[in-house]
């Protein structure tokens, strides 16, 4: 089917978020929709999937104008959306989720046999035939949950799939599975709108790319005839000088030394050291134990063994408070559930870690606090109207800067980063890289877990590769081909 959205206008109150946006998608193509956070991508897709009603413009399918007033309307037209945050009910089984709201039944009694057979059929269509339909959905990895969502969309007869940042939580291996399925769907005539911040993926999998900026449509290109620089220029309206800013920091003495770190069932025998001013990247598949290293170092997990030395002094970290007292900071993977208190203001979040330093006898000195927050917001370039705005109103990139602010109020000796740029747009990423570089220059030792290989390769001095809870090796970032890192992360372990 061919989709044409013409002159789409949408306002929220006085704020116009889409200004006469055009978007066209042909059946059997994968069409990237890119733009910085706040450019209007999500709003446009929410209009297409029936979550928002358009204020002006028209939507045509195969030349016929259509009206989409609800998700149900969109589904009836064969449009389905796979959300970034998956919509599974984790306690229900895979098949219960697949057929939620339209369970095959006899007079209200669920026909479990038919349901299971149908579920298995749709799952195998997306190459996920190995998933047991009776499995509890929440126990599946994010990658597999996503495949279930795609199977559900197909079972709803979707001819147009909207995928919003589908690879954000996937490992390289899961991503290639996903791409294979997308290619297969494309061959079967399904049109896919692919919303992503990851340029590499767009050039790998998409046919065309449309760019939005500040609610305007700024251009459409055939992927084969454009390049990274042109797309980024369209997105940000200026040339982005460096995608990964260089760091010229002499590496200092050893700050963090980790010996034989283990967390039974998760990680075993981890050894590494990080120097002052150094970034140690941690690569590997999801579930390989990358985050476990950080959680163990920060005292989040219990029952761990091994030796950790900071500036040659042994540490005993049993709780996060101990880690913080020792000078360790932790930018967690999931900023919404672990990094921020969403209902509190930028100010209240930014000072949460070091609040005692802004207080006397337990009473907060409000001027001191406000001044410190102002300085942090300026230093980190947090784009917010003021410090009193609720942090949940900020874009992903700005939220992430607030998480950094929490730890920078008092510069940490060691900073642990878990997916520091997830869900952050290109411009915001570059700003976060600058922050990382400045911290390194100030002598902080940084351990950075990331699923984005280009990011790990460019930002790290050395890369620790994890594989099935064990250390597969530490490689210098310079001169090691990415393939070698991938191979180390995925090769079967030698019998030990």
């Amino acid at each position: 089917m061919n989709l044409a959205m013409k002159g789409i206008v949408k306002s929220f109150g006085p704020v116009r978020v889409l200004e006469s946006v055009d978007f066209a998608l042909a059946g059997g193509e994968i069409h990237a929709l890119v733009g910085e956070n706040g450019a209007g991508k999500s709003t446009l897709m929410k209009i297409l999937s029936g979550a928002y009603l358009l204020d002006g413009g028209s939507i045509e399918i195969d030349g016929t104008p259509v009206t989409i007033r609800s998700t149900r309307d969109a589904e009836a037209l064969g449009i389905a959306i796979i959300h970034q945050e998956l919509n599974m009910i984790p306690q229900l089984s895979v098949m219960d989720n697949l057929f939620l709201g339209r369970e095959p039944n006899h007079l209200g009694v669920i026909a479990r046999g038919r349901m299971q057979a149908e579920a298995a059929r749709w799952l195998s269509k997306v190459g996920a035939g190995r998933i047991d339909p009776h499995q509890e959905a929440g126990k599946l990895s994010i990658g597999l949950q996503q495949l279930v969502e795609i199977a559900k969309a197909l079972s709803l007869n979707a001819r147009l799939l909207i995928m919003d940042e589908p690879t954000a939580s996937l490992t390289e291996r899961e991503i290639s599975t996903l791409f294979a399925i997308m290619t297969d769907l494309k061959a079967r005539g399904v049109g896919i709108v692919y919303v992503s911040h990851r340029m590499e993926e767009i050039f790998k999998i998409c046919d065309r790319v449309s760019v939005l900026r500040d609610g305007h449509f700024v251009g459409e290109r055939a992927v084969a005839q454009t390049g990274f620089d042109e797309i980024v220029k369209l997105m940000v309206g200026r040339e982005l000088k460096e995608r990964f800013p260089k760091r010229a920091v002499p590496v200092g003495p050893v700050r963090l030394q980790v010996e034989d770190l283990s967390h039974p069932g998760h990680i075993r025998h981890i050894h590494f050291e990080v120097h002052a001013g150094e970034v140690l990247g941690v690569s590997g598949l999801i579930g390989a134990g990358r985050s476990d290293i950080l959680n163990t170092l920060f005292g989040v997990t219990r029952g761990t063994t091994g030796k950790v030395l900071l500036d040659a002094k042994p540490l005993s970290i049993r709780r996060p408070i101990d880690a913080i007292a020792a000078g360790i900071g932790y930018v967690t993977e999931d900023r919404k559930s672990q990094g921020l208190v969403l209902g509190l203001s930028v100010r209240e979040n930014a000072t949460l870690v070091q609040l005692k330093h802004y207080a006397r006898f337990g009473v907060i000195r409000r001027r001191t606090e406000a001044a410190a927050v102002k300085a942090l917001m300026a230093e980190l370039q947090v784009h917010a109207r003021d410090a009193e705005i609720e942090v949940k109103a900020l874009s992903g990139g700005n939220q992430q800067k607030v998480v950094f602010a929490k730890w920078l109020a008092k510069p940490p000796k060691v900073l642990l980063l878990d997916e520091p740029t997830r869900g952050v747009d290109v411009g915001g990423k570059a700003e976060i890289y600058h922050i990382i570089n400045r911290l390194a220059a100030a002598g902080t030792a940084i351990v950075m877990v990331s699923s984005e290989l280009p990011e790990v390769m460019a930002m790290s001095d050395r890369i620790l590769v994890m594989r099935e809870g064990q250390q597969a090796g530490i490689f210098p970032a310079q001169g090691t081909p990415p393939e070698q890192i991938m191979a180390a992360a995925t090769e079967a372990l030698p019998a030990s």
């Binding site: 949460l352 207080a359 009473v363």
Partner: protein, 312 residues
Amino acid sequence: MTAQQKATLQKYGPLLALVVVCVGLSIMSPSFLTLSNSFDVMRQVSINAVIAFGMTLSILLGGIDLSVGSILAVSSVLAAMTMKSGHDAGLAAGIALLAGAAMGSLNGLVIAKGNVAPFIATLGTMTLLRGLALVLSNGSPISDFSSNFFAMLGGGYVARLIPVPVVVMLVMFAAFWFVLTRTVFGRHVYATGGNAEAATLSGVNTARVQILVYTLCGAMAALAGVILTSRLDSAQPTAGAGYELDAITAVVLGGTSLAGGRGWIFGTLVGALLIGVLNNGLNLMGMSAFYQQVVKGAVILLAVLLDRGGKT
């Protein structure tokens, strides 16, 4: 209307409702808006308000404290027993407050260290402590303390005009306001209630925050118990039953979210006053007690529905 105006309206909605009800009642009943009746209402409100201040903290944490009525009874009985055994009223009040704090910290320990849901934990202590009050008092009221000082706590006046319980309520209001808005502890309450995991990872000792909050909750219930005992010149082991629901009503009417992390103490004061004013006004209008319940319930539902309606 912008989102901000809407938020402001929502925040001050309970206050607006209170003003509207007061204006309405003073038109309908000339005896409503007299100085003596105003202080009367506030004195009636004070016990619930004091409990509700503590309750606000537990609800800000995303928890609840169902045991406040029972804590009130135990504290009240303990104070009475102390006086009956010949000790002075100050000591009695002190023992009551300490006992309230101790019972509250028991709640906090079970919740924070035992990882028990606050609803269940305090449901348990509610029953347990009610039993304790009955055991201690042998099931019968303890009365006649013949202590002028003690009688003053519930029945006295400051400057011959303002009832002592009203002063206590206002002082406690100011103290809780200060603690919640100006102190590290207050900030930690909001952070823990808003997102306990993020708070822990930011170095907030969430277990300590919880224990302290329930301790305060218990102490406030005991304070209410002292006032009540003084007013009645009698300690009843069955006193305070159902008070937890009045306190929760005041907190929720005041706009504090049961989900935790959002709310303020001023709202609770307004919520408690709103309930008190309704009680008083309906009495003055001579409405039957049965209808009063119907009206009060309807007002609560209406207030909460209005609050929900503003959320997106």
